[in-house]
């Protein structure tokens, strides 16, 4: 699950007054809030069915076929536990089912990513940043782009801590999923994203010092 520790944001989101968008959502919350009894049991069973359908949908969408049902059941089970624990935090800003679906989709996605990377080595090598200039070092690369890519590569090598460099390279250049990396490093997705955010901010600041403003317009890297 996601971390509460990250402090990336300079943006805060206003918390609205709790309300229900429709009668069905109110019924879900009322029944699941009972905590025991036939109505509660029936609601939990209906919710599990719904979560299972969502997890299967996502796993199929991702092209996962091996052990799909097993992964989907695990995802639905874990999502159900999370939803029951977090039920008091449902604020009614969306339909209850939409709120619930996201837990099943998250669990399915995390399990699928971890399954895909099971047994694979997660690259955390210091040389990975060389991928940046390598990608620009082709016959069609203009001098301005080559200069920018060189500056980015140098900044990665010189202004980041070794941990920031390893996280940035793994996630953005070697396409390691952030939750797979979090699992291997014994940390959380939120904490890793904070590290990535800080690394990116350092790189942007370094490029600005050099008068480089990447990606602001096509072909205009300076």
């Amino acid at each position: 699950m996601l971390s509460a520790a990250a402090s990336v944001a300079t943006v805060t989101v206003a918390q609205p007054t709790p309300a229900f968008p429709d009668p069905e959502s109110e019924t879900w919350v009322a029944d699941l809030g009972l905590g025991t009894g036939p109505a509660y049991d029936a609601a939990v069973a209906r919710l599990h069915d719904l979560l299972l359908r969502a997890a299967r949908f996502e796993l199929r969408r991702r092209g996962a076929h091996t052990d799909l049902d097993d992964l989907a059941f695990q995802a639905a089970n874990d999502a159900l536990v999370a939803i029951l624990a977090k039920l008091p935090t449902y604020r009614g800003q969306s339909r209850f089912t939409t709120w619930a679906y996201k837990f099943a989709l998250l669990e399915a996605a995390v399990k699928a990513r971890r399954r895909a990377w099971r047994g694979r080595e997660v690259p955390l090598d210091a040389e990975g940043w060389a991928l940046v200039p390598a990608r620009g070092n082709t016959p069609g690369t203009d001098a301005e782009t080559a200069e920018l890519l060189g500056a980015v590569s140098t900044a990665i090598a010189t202004v980041l801590t070794s941990h920031q460099r390893a996280v940035l390279v793994a996630i953005t250049l070697q396409d390691v999923p952030i939750d797979v990396l979090a699992e291997r490093l014994g940390t959380t997705r939120g904490a890793l994203y904070k590290t990535l955010h800080d690394a990116r901010r350092k790189l942007r600041a370094q490029l600005a010092l050099q008068g480089l403003e990447p990606l602001d317009s096509e072909g205009g890297s300076r």
């Binding site: 996201k102 955010h197 942007r204 990447p214």
Partner: protein, 74 residues
């Protein structure tokens, strides 16, 4: 600059503007997607969400998944 190089560079440098955290993104995802599908200004309701979705591949996948599920009629 080729599209591949541009996309890779965008991934390395991330969004320029302020963004929400992964945790806030997950908290607001259902609200954000329902607003998007209703044609409302979702970014105005959840400032910094769009930037985060540009910068965080995993959250972008979660966003795409919820959109796809709701668009499929769930």
């Amino acid at each position: 600059m080729s599209d591949e190089t541009r996309n890779r560079l965008a991934g390395v440098l991330g969004p320029a503007g302020p963004e929400v955290t992964c945790e806030v993104c997950f908290d607001e995802l259902d609200h954000f997607v329902e607003l998007e599908l209703a044609g409302a200004d979702a970014e105005a309701a959840v400032p910094g969400m769009t930037a985060h979705l540009e910068g965080c591949p995993a959250c972008a996948e979660d966003h795409a998944a919820l959109r796809a599920l709701l668009e499929a009629g769930a």
